[in-house]
């Protein structure tokens, strides 16, 4: 290590004045993270001329105990313990101005069971720090001791399936469209037709709350009429995500209580309500036998660009801790951003008991979820029945596939659209279980199923050419290469 990076003795370290962060103890290249440390991985783009190690130390400092100058009051504390420690800085592959900085945080820096407190440290101040051009939180390792201080998903994938009596296939949903403007009575019509036709769920959109064209109680009442009618006409448990997002916690609790009173199996919140509100609603959901759906409204503002913000894989981890049962996590093949490998990483974070390091899917740490329930990922946005083989291949079985336009836009009507999706899904799962190469034979399997299902035939015809094939803005940095041995 160059002399300039070495730690100083106490007298030099605590003399009044300004010191480089790396000399203040925030850079410890020999540090071995403890099992109980929280670890954060940042992608750092230093300003021109700024040493990447100093930049990493600054991030460690500003996200833990440091301020811009030396303070003697540090010496009243066990400051060595509380300092976050940057311990590893690697150049990012193929991006000469970017570095991956690994920073370890002592567990006692964080309040148990509080995403607000965790994030106030890790992303609180540091993203506006001038010596950095850009900063992105790529991943976190959350120690078991910390994971265990969170409730986790109110219901979880297994119990959700048990409550819905639905196994062995992805769940099917649709967002009611148009997302704004329908009256409560008209809105309930869409819910009824879609559920009767074969979907398990319908969904409010993120911005359906309580507007002049439809106040929330009207929506809830008409939707529950639709849900119960559809249940009686199919013999299945049905649900509609009633969005309880509102301006205050008091109002959200009021709406959630009404949803419970009406017998809904599921309610919904938006990510924009904030971490504390999400944790409160997760606790309410656990106490009231309610599945909790989270729409990730707003996340694209900070997750999409690769150099700055917070990766969605970190948001997914926080949301599993916070306790939501559903989270929108990408479709791969639909209209919204989502590289296949990166999306697989998000899905693994939601659904696995333990994550293993997998650089090719953007997962940088082993993560033990310590028996926290699993989150059901939701795939929504520009998907249709003709993609069923790809959806099952990329997304697996424990996922909600949401075909909004792909249900409501069907030429024979909403119920026919729902039936087309359900038949396509069951036919594909059947073929997969029977051992067919369903990914390669997908179009054939769908065509066979369509012989006894006119709605599917029409869906395949009308949407056969619809794809959304654009370059991803958030592909993994590491691509597996074949080794020569």
């Amino acid at each position: 290590m160059p002399d300039g990076d070495k730690k100083l003795d106490a007298k030099a370290r605590y003399s009044a004045g300004v010191l480089e962060y790396k000399k203040m103890g925030y850079w410890e290249p020999d540090y071995l993270p403890k099992d109980t440390d929280v670890i954060a991985l940042f992608r750092i783009t230093p300003q021109d001329g700024v040493d990447p190690i100093e930049a990493a130390a600054a991030v460690a400092g500003e996200s833990s105990t440091a301020t811009w100058t030396v303070v003697w009051t540090d010496r009243l504390t066990a400051c060595e313990k509380y300092r976050a420690k940057a311990y590893r800085v690697d150049p990012a592959p193929n991006n000469p101005n970017e570095y991956f900085a690994y920073i370890a945080y002592e567990l006692d820096l964080f309040e148990p069971g509080s995403i607000a407190n965790l994030t106030a440290s890790i992303i609180g101040n540091v993203f506006g720090f001038k010596p950095l051009k850009a900063l992105r939180l790529e991943d976190m390792r959350l120690p078991v001791a910390y994971v265990k201080t969170f409730q986790g998903p109110a219901t979880g994938i297994v119990v959700e399936r048990e409550r819905l009596n639905c196994y062995g296939r992805p769940l099917l949903g649709a967002t009611v469209k148009p997302k704004l403007g329908l009256s409560g009575r008209n809105y309930g019509r869409v819910v009824y037709e879609a559920l009767k036709g074969g979907l398990d769920f319908t969904k409010d959109d993120e911005n359906i709350n309580s507007q002049p064209f439809m106040h929330w109680r009207d929506r809830f009442l008409y939707c529950m009429e639709a849900v119960n009618r559809a249940s009686a006409s199919t013999g299945e448990v049905k649900g509609t995500y009633l969005n309880v997002t509102a301006g205050t916690m008091e109002e959200m609790y009021k709406r959630a209580e009404f949803a419970k009173e009406l017998g809904s199996v599921i309610i919904m919140i938006d990510l924009v309500i904030g971490y504390t509100a999400i944790q409160s609603m997760a606790k309410w959901a656990r106490d009231n036998d309610m599945i909790l759906h989270l729409h990730r409204a707003g996340h694209g503002t900070y997750t999409r660009q690769k150099t700055h913000g917070v990766s969605f894989r970190v948001i997914a981890k926080w949301m599993r801790l916070a306790g939501v049962d559903h989270i929108h996590a990408g479709t791969v093949v639909g209209k919204l951003e989502g590289d296949p490998a990166t999306t697989k990483g998000y899905y693994d974070i939601c659904r696995e008991e333990q994550n293993s390091v997998s650089l090719e899917t953007g997962v940088f740490f082993d993560q033990d979820w310590a028996s926290l329930n699993k989150v059901m990922p939701v795939a929504s946005g520009g998907i249709h029945a003709g993609q069923m083989h790809q959806l099952i291949h990329y997304l697996g079985e424990d996922v909600v596939l949401q075909f909004g336009g792909g249900t409501i836009g069907h030429p024979q009507g909403i119920a026919a659209g729902a039936t087309a999706n359900r038949v396509a899904l069951e036919a594909m799962v059947y073929a997969r279980n029977a051992g067919r190469d369903y990914l390669a034979e997908g179009p054939t399997i769908l065509a066979e199923a369509a012989k006894t299902c006119t709605p599917l035939r029409e869906a395949l015809d009308i949407w056969k050419d619809v794809t959304f094939d654009y370059a991803s803005t958030d592909a993994p940095d590491f691509v597996p290469t074949t080794s020569v041995s």
């Binding site: 297994v158 062995g168 009429e225 299945e236 029977a434």
Partner: protein
């Protein structure tokens, strides 16, 4: 109407060969396959009657199809389903559940509405067939 519970109710009814394929898939995954029957298809009737225990350690789908046909001899006018249990840590529940036998006529469900305070309605769903006593609901 057609009760569409289970994984494959939107497909044409399976032949025994198709049932065999799906059961073998479950067995190959290490799941224990079970047969259950009922004459109460209410969506929240969780506990259908068990036709024996789940067939733990059974390597051959043919044994399940044999038992299914034995069950059909007695309860051929009932709903019968195949269920696969996965005992893996973190799951310990059902992985696949599909109906393999159903009554020739399915009268469906009655939706009752009780008007309570304000505009609230309390709903209840009752199979039309459950007006009759258990055991005499389907012929």
């Amino acid at each position: 109407m057609r009760v569409t519970q289970g994984t494959f109710s939107f497909l044409p009814d399976f032949t025994d060969q198709q049932i065999h394929e799906q059961v073998q898939y479950c067995i190959d995954n290490g799941w224990a396959v079970s047969i259950e029957y009922t004459d109460d298809p209410h969506p929240r009737n969780t506990y259908w009657e068990m036709w024996g225990h789940p067939m733990f350690d059974n390597p051959d789908a043919a044994a399940v199809v044999y038992e299914l046909n034995e069950c059909r001899k007695v309860y051929g006018s009932y709903y019968i389903r195949i269920i696969a249990f996965d005992s893996s840590p973190g799951w310990e529940s059902i992985r696949l559940s599909f109906i393999v036998n159903r009554p020739s006529e399915e009268p469906g469900f009655k939706l009752s509405r009780t008007e309570v305070k304000g505009r609230n309605i309390q709903y209840s769903i009752t199979p039309y067939s459950s007006d009759k006593p258990q055991g005499s609901r389907y012929k």
